[in-house]
Symmetry: C2
Subunit: 78 residues, 2 copies
């Protein structure tokens, strides 16, 4: 099963990378605001059993820092 | 308009971060393979006119490295 996990800084958490990107985009003339930078992790899960629960454990144990990041799990069948 | 851009290493391009994450997940007992790590960038675009074309320019000029990364643009109305 193909899995995509989106990991984003939580609301209210400072995001220096997002601020840097916003500054650069504005200097290039793009009128943007609220830029936030997170990570996208794609992988194949060998076994489909309890896929969502297992990916949640992966997020909690390694992929995300639950104190400052939220995550969103997408399971793609086939 | 809210915009989400997903930036991923292109197929065939080495992804050391993905390899490191895969190694760590396997050590934790998760049977995963093909781990790839990219970025997700969320922002607000002040003006909706030609939104997709402008976000494509942002990707080409700053957000992604088109030589080694592909990008996917999601425009969210309202």
């Amino acid at each position: 099963m193909k899995v995509t996990v989106l990991i984003r800084p939580k609301q209210g958490i400072l995001d220096p990378q997002g601020e840097a990107v916003e500054g650069s985009l504005r200097k290039l003339g793009f009128d943007v605001h609220g830029v936030r930078v997170g990570r996208v992790v794609d992988f194949e899960l060998a076994d489909d059993t309890d896929a969502r629960a297992r990916v949640e454990r992966m997020c909690a144990e390694l992929l995300a820092n639950p104190l400052i990041e939220s995550f969103e799990i997408e399971l793609h069948d086939a």
